[in-house]
């Protein structure tokens, strides 16, 4: 590297570093722990505001602190599937696209309870809290949501399920929270649980999330499934079974399933679900009561075969992997060779005489073993030349 080039590189690095420091300076205030009475900056549940999703007749389907995008979907209590077709500021309109097909019946073991097993619970947004009970929407280190997770765990334990409740903090509440909670989720999955719940609370008014069960105020729940994750179908299958089972015993306790444009780490497991337990404006006690009721029903569905790979899902998964691999090879070859003829020659080289590797346009490998993989023998020829 000549001196001029070196200076350019150093100058570039300094500029990038400066930009990074500027970002740090601007955002540093937000990274400091908020006073417990103040919401943490940048909460994804849009504190103080929320989305209202209407059907085409103008009737409110649900409210949520989640950001709503065109293409998001909602499966209501009665299994009607809606697709969001328009978003205007804080109001979205969803079109009913039909009823979900009935799920096949559960195996007998699932209907009568799984008879043991483990369920894992964690909290990506471990500071989420309930204003009426906790005094704040966010309490870093002691979020009220941990107590709601504990109520769910207790309900499971009382029914013979080993609940593994991680209270790991993933603070601060920033764009790295899901990366950090992904590590917790992977740790929990090493315990081979039958289900993995990321317990949150939603944002928005309390009223749509409240109901009465046996004279007691209970917060409803909404299940959230990430529609951009490869396991979406399996996650949704489990979500529907849970919704149906819970609502069969406590009608309306699960208000629906929201399919949002995200992953939520649900790509890690077929039975990974995000549960929104009440909102910041419901009481923690109501949310915990709702969690207990849901926990009482979970054993009835975790023995189901929803996690078992189905033929269609396997095909889809394999197709995804192979499609990406083929597309990657195709794009690489096209860019590397620059013409169809050269690209064809390369491919023929792999399957024909030689196994000539892309990029091996002369000279032996530098430090390589020469033999490499079965892709070629490294003869140094360039069929495209």
């Amino acid at each position: 590297m000549d001196k001029v080039r070196f200076k350019q590189v150093v100058a570039g690095l300094v500029i990038v570093l400066a930009i990074g420091l500027c970002i740090y300076a601007v955002l540093d205030r937000n990274s400091l722990p908020a006073a417990t009475s103040q919401p943490a900056a940048g909460l994804d549940e849009r504190l103080g505001s929320y989305f209202t999703v209407l059907d085409e007749s103008g009737k409110t389907l649900f409210t949520t602190g989640h950001l709503v995008h065109v293409g998001d979907e909602f499966i209501s209590e009665d299994d009607t599937r809606y697709e969001v077709i328009r978003v205007d500021e804080d109001t979205a309109v969803a079109r009913a696209v039909g009823k979900m097909e009935a799920l096949p019946p559960l195996p007998l073991t699932a209907q009568t309870g799984a008879g043991g097993g483990k369920v894992a619970i964690y909290h990506t947004h471990s500071s989420e809290s309930y204003v009426p009970s906790d005094g704040a929407e966010s309490r870093p280190g002691s979020g009220g949501i941990i107590d709601v997770g504990a109520a769910l765990a207790d309900a499971l334990e009382r029914r013979g399920i080993q609940a593994i409740h991680s209270t790991a903090s993933h603070e601060p509440h920033d764009a790295g929270a899901y990366d950090r909670s992904r590590r917790t989720a992977v740790q929990l999955l090493k315990e081979r649980p039958l289900a993995l719940f990321d317990v949150h609370r939603d944002g928005g008014p309390a009223e749509p999330y409240l109901k009465e069960v046996d004279g007691k105020e209970v917060a409803k729940a909404m299940i959230v499934v990430g529609r951009t994750n490869p396991k979406m179908n399996a996650n949704l299958d489990f979500a529907r079974r849970l919704k149906d089972a819970v609502n069969a015993e406590y009608p309306g306790l699960i208000k629906g399933i929201f399919l949002g444009k995200a992953d939520f780490n649900q790509d890690l497991f077929d039975r990974a679900l995000l549960l929104e337990m009440g909102t910041e404006r419901t009481s923690k006690e109501a949310a915990a009561a709702g969690a207990e009721l849901i926990g009482s029903v979970v054993p009835k569905v975790i023995g189901a075969s929803t996690g078992a790979p189905s033929g269609g899902a396997i095909g889809r998964s394999l197709g995804w992997i192979l499609g990406l691999a083929v597309a990657g090879v195709f794009v690489y070859l096209w860019v590397a060779t620059g013409s169809w003829e050269e690209m064809r020659a390369k491919i023929m080289g792999w399957f024909g005489s030689g196994g000539v590797r892309v990029g091996e346009r002369g000279g032996p490998r530098d430090g390589g073993d020469g033999a490499g993989g079965p892709g070629g023998t490294g003869d140094g020829a360039d069929p495209g030349s």
Partner: protein, 229 residues
Amino acid sequence: MGLPVGTIVLIIVAILVFFGVLHRVLDRMRLTDRAALVIVLLMAAGTFIDIPISRGAVPVSVNVGGALVPLGVVIWLIATAEDGGDRLRAILAPVITGAVIWGLRKVLSPDEQLMRVPPMIVFGLAAGIIAALSGRSRRAAFVGGIGGMLVADVIHWIELLTTGIPGNVSFGGAGAFDATVLAGVLAVGLIEIVGEAREHVVKQGPGGPGERREGRASGEGEDGRDGRG
């Protein structure tokens, strides 16, 4: 069934290595095909091994597959750098990338749904872009991607210690599924695409293909930099 994103990426890498497509990339990183496949397997197996480092106010652990194995590759790449400039770039890359990733975690929305590109992908792309700015080096890209994520976690650790925010640090804790591994792979992929696209443009320009190939055959790479990096 669907597979986790990290698994899908590693499978694709293994397939590309198997067919020799990544031969030149690995060559520039002083790795053989077999070594690359062994590294992929070690990352997968190491996912199940966590080593606690600290149990204090901020518990810290390191995962073998998600951090130690990739870190070993990073050290290897820095150690085998051919000259001082190359080595300097490889050392600076993770520091700068780490600061930028940490900054991005703050500046980007915490809501995945607001982002067109998932955060895990963004961090890898950031490492690739920084590597591109620092000289289109595959070596710097991989070191920047892996090292950058680890440095960002170190900054997060310092942040927790200095601000008192409760939390824990798990370097590469999701193993093969961790954003750390993905960042390294994506960064190299981005550099490769940028490098090939640039070469493609050069190929169409004055001088033609013959000139380009001659340059390649000399082992210098498309700009005299990739040949070393």
